[in-house]
């Protein structure tokens, strides 16, 4: 290593060690900044390192601006400022303090030029600054950026930082970054083997890229170690990919479940083909939109509760619509399933057009409350909150529905009417009332599904149409009249779809699933969980 560099690095390390009291260097920072425009590129590089060595927090912002090419010298007073172009002029702020200095034309400014070498110097200088920051999250970010650059020059700095590091997460990241650097340097074989093992243990794509990069230049005796590391990472990545697919599949499956579960009641339990089911889901989504509109204009503070308000409201609205449909149309068509299919299809057209007339044909913006936005990492998986909540919601709805069917008087009456209408009626069950309530329940659940779907899909008058065929597929695949079949059917189809997608693409995957279901129904016309017996084909 070049002696002057070594000295400068030592100086930096020293500076970092005494950075506890940055105020002592305040004067120094200012003079260093004003020295920045002078001299040639190599002088400037030295100043950059000196600046970094001050450990002053303000320097990071300044260096950043320098790297971006936003740092200028004002010609009239030689002051170093940050200039952002706005129209013809530049908006100026002080490079260190951020004080606003008005605007100036470009003729009044002179850019502090950087070349690629300087940019690299700026990056590592920022890394050095941040690596020793008091905030663990800043340090973590810095370590991660070092991992990406893997600049061998940062090794000593990293060692210094590592020695002082106490946070275990940051420490792991730094160690990995160090390993990444080690494989690039001319360190001893054993040290390199250890580094490779460390990277292999990390098992992500970055580590894979590093090892692949190192393979070409590595010594022959290291090749098998690297190969083994790469193979190990690839295995692990494949596993995580699989798990991620399962997750996506469960997520899609839960959406299908939500869309189909109301149908499992109306079609599965009552035997009514409701082609307007998708439009009822759509009405639920529009209820959410309407609730959010009211909240946005009148009670902005309640936005995070908008879904909690929309859920019961959507249930109510769609259940009432459902009851109206049952009383108005479907009850005249019992025992004529094909006619029911046609009438409800007509109804779906009317509902679509009504919504289009009221809300317009375009997508409506339904916002995610804060607790449904964003994502988090779970081990190697990236999990978005909205998907997670929708899975939870789908399962809760399923469980509640199961309980309603099996544990409540209404559920008992529903099952009684389904199995033997005449007998139920002669035992004093008001079968028309039960029919209406059952249909209302199925529709209400579809409406709640609409609330959930508004969080992940476009809310437009066509929302329902995109779900209706899928929903029927799920119910038919799972076995009509069997809620568990609907659950298993939805999740199976969801996961199968997501596993096919990487090989076949989204559209072909969907086509395959449709063809599969068509063939499956040929084999088992009554679905996965079929009821058996004489009564069934009577």
């Amino acid at each position: 290593m070049h002696p002057t560099r070594l000295i400068s690095k030592l100086l930096i390390a020293l500076a970092l060690l005494i950075a506890v009291a940055p105020g002592a260097f305040a004067q120094d920072v200012e003079s260093l900044v004003s020295a920045l425009p002078e001299g040639d590129y190599s002088d400037r590089e030295k100043v950059i390192f000196d600046l970094a060595a001050t450990g002053d927090e303000r320097v990071a912002g300044l260096l950043n601006a320098l790297g971006e090419g936003d740092l200028y010298v004002r010609e009239e007073d030689g002051r170093v400022i940050v200039g952002k172009r706005s129209g013809r002029n530049y908006t100026l702020t002080d490079a260190l303090t951020g004080e606003e200095l008005g605007t100036a034309p470009s003729s009044a400014l002179e850019k502090i030029r950087v070349n690629n070498r300087l940019r690299r110097a700026v990056r590592s200088a920022i890394g050095q600054l941040t690596l020793m920051s008091p905030s663990p999250s800043v340090r973590l970010r810095a370590a991660r950026s070092l991992l990406r650059n893997a600049d061998p020059d940062s090794l000593e700095l990293l060692d210094t930082a590592l020695a002082a590091e106490t946070d275990p997460q940051v420490k792991t990241m730094m160690e990995t970054a160090r390993a990444g650097i080690i494989v690039k340097t001319d360190a001893g074989i054993e040290e390199k083997v250890a580094a490779i093992d460390l990277l292999a243990a990390r098992g992500d794509r970055e580590a894979l890229a590093m090892l692949t990069g190192a393979r070409s230049s590595a010594a022959p005796e290291l090749q098998p170690v690297i190969e083994r590391g790469i193979a190990g990472i690839e295995r692990e990545l494949a596993m995580w990919d699989g798990l991620q697919n399962v997750w996506y599949g469960l997520s899609l499956g839960s959406v299908l479940l939500l869309a189909a579960i109301g149908l499992a009641i109306t079609f599965g339990v009552m035997g009514v083909i409701n082609m307007a089911h998708g439009e009822i889901v759509m009405l639920g989504a529009y209820t959410t939109f309407a609730v959010q509109q009211v909240i946005r204009t009148s009670f902005p503070g309640l936005f995070d509760y908008s879904l909690a308000i929309a859920l019961p409201l959507a249930f109510l609205v769609t259940a009432l619509v459902g009851i109206a449909i049952e009383r108005g149309i479907i009850r005249w068509l019992y025992g004529r399933p094909l006619e029911t299919l046609l009438a409800t299809w007509g109804l779906s057209l009317i509902l679509q057009q009504t919504v289009r007339t009221i809300f317009g044909p375009n997508n409506r913006e339904v916002g995610n409350p804060s607790w449904m936005s964003g994502a988090f990492d779970l081990a190697g998986l990236s999990i978005t909150w909205n998907r997670l909540w929708i899975i939870v919601f789908a399962l809760v709805v399923f469980a509640v529905l199961l309980a309603v069917l099996n544990r409540t008087p209404l559920g008992l009456q529903m099952r009684a009417v389904t199995q033997n209408r005449r007998m139920a009626s002669s035992m004093g069950i008001r079968t028309p009332w039960v029919d209406a309530m059952t249909f209302g329940l199925g529709s209400g659940i579809a409406g709640m599904a609409g609330v959930a779907l508004s969080q992940i899909d476009n809310v437009s008058p066509n929302l329902g149409q995109s779900y209706i065929i899928d929903s029927f597929m799920v119910v038919v695949f799972g076995g009509v009249g069997n809620l568990w079949g609907t659950l298993v059917g939805a999740l199976t189809l969801g996961v199968a779809n997501k596993f096919l997608e990487p090989y076949a693409g989204a559209v072909l995957a969907k086509i395959f699933i449709l063809v599969f279901i068509i063939l499956f129904i040929q084999r088992r016309p009554r679905g996965l969980f079929a009821l058996k017996g004489r009564a069934v084909d009577a």
Partner: protein, 386 residues
């Protein structure tokens, strides 16, 4: 025996239908071509392909009626057979463009040049010949229906389940044809046709000829359907519709009968599609949309299923209504169509022709109308929540 069966097709009112269709096949083109512009009896130019389109729709509704009205199979995927016939014709018309396309490639259609195809896909071979395309118009929908029906009817998928999987079939095809790499022009479909059998498509005489061809094809389909429904075969189909398992216990292989009706119906639908495409000048995957197939059902229901005249009347009436509505109140068409679905199923289950026939017999026999309704209702016994 065959001639006897065919002769039976002209029994009763059927001969009048055929006569009227042939008269239309002659009168409309003649009035358009030979009467001077402005003459009150002249059919305007733009009306000829529009009426021709209605006739192909009538054929499609007739095809659906054969399986739905007579055999009780509600297919929600008949648009797919129509579209296949249309695509087969479209491929022929595409290849007829030759080097007159935008890219002037003598072999490859424009969209293939645009999508960087180096050579013609194998399934486009032969479509430069009309006879080959004509065979495909019949064969492709026929084979698809046969294979689909073979599996579905053998495993006794019936009623609503069958309707749902036919819908899934056309939906899967819709998705497939939207893909550019299917080699059928993706979502733009096939269009910019120039001529058919050497005659320019824009010429009045070509349009008149296509109209006449549509009317005659409709008349022929009507004769075939009439020959089917008036034979014992037709009676077996109705028997299957009304009491499938009873028919089976009489020793009839119900699956074969359904398969025959389904395949014959698909072939008629395919021919209708082939006549439709040159008259509207485009075929795209939208024809596979499940909504289109359900619309065919409503034409048939409005006119009256289980009669052969009904679907023809229904298709023409509903589509004429659609043309008028979309011209005058475009935003109300879906309300009207939706309302039609609801109203027909609730109040006019036998359709216009069925209701008229019922009224006529009631009047003629001077019987109480209630008794007639009681007797002619083909719907199965109510068995809610199967």
């Amino acid at each position: 025996m065959i001639t006897k069966t065919l002769l039976r097709a002209f029994d009763g009112k059927a001969i009048w239908v055929v006569a009227i269709l042939i008269a239309i096949a002659v009168a409309v083109p003649a009035s358009n071509l030979y009467l001077p512009v402005g003459h009150p009896l002249r059919v305007p130019n733009h009306f000829v392909p529009l009426l021709g389109k209605y006739l192909t729709y009538a054929m499609l509704a007739l095809a659906l009626d054969l399986v739905w009205g007579y055999c009780g199979i509600l297919s929600l995927g008949h648009g797919a057979f129509f579209a296949f016939g249309g695509y087969a014709m479209g491929m022929y018309l595409m290849r007829q463009i030759g080097d007159r396309g935008v890219y002037a490639n003598p072999v490859l259609p424009d969209f293939m040049v645009f999508l960087n195809y180096q050579e013609l896909p194998w399934f486009w071979y032969g479509f430069d010949m009309f006879w080959f395309a004509a065979i495909m118009v019949v064969l492709v929908p026929g084979v698809l229906a046969f294979v689909f029906g073979w599996f579905a009817f053998r495993s006794r998928v019936t009623g609503v389940y069958l309707s749902i999987i036919t819908q899934a079939m056309t939906y899967a095809l819709l998705l497939a044809f939207f893909r550019n790499d299917m080699g059928f022009g993706g979502n733009n479909g096939l269009t910019d046709f120039k001529d058919i059998l050497g005659a320019p498509l824009q010429a009045g005489s070509t349009r008149a000829a296509l109209f006449a061809a549509s009317a005659i094809a409709l008349a022929l389909s009507f004769i075939v359907c009439s020959a089917i429904v008036r034979s014992k075969l037709g009676k077996v189909l109705v028997a299957v519709r009304d009491a499938e398992s009873r028919t089976r216990f009489l020793g009839y292989r119900v699956d074969n009968y359904k398969l025959f009706a389904f395949t014959a119906s698909a072939v008629i639908a395919g021919i209708a599609g082939a006549l439709y495409v040159p008259q509207v000048g485009i075929i795209n995957p939208g024809e596979f949309a499940p909504a289109n197939s359900i619309e065919i059902v409503i034409w048939t229901a409005v006119g009256g299923r289980g009669t052969l005249i009904g679907p023809i009347v229904g298709a023409v009436l509903v589509n004429a209504g659609k043309s008028w509505f979309t011209g005058v109140f475009p935003e109300f068409w879906l309300f009207a169509l939706g309302g039609l679905f609801v109203a027909v199923t609730l109040f006019l289950p036998k359709g216009i022709v069925g209701a008229l026939a019922q009224g006529w017999t009631a009047l003629k026999a001077q019987r109480v109308s209630a008794q007639a309704e009681d007797g002619s209702d083909a719907a199965p016994e109510p068995s809610p929540a199967e």
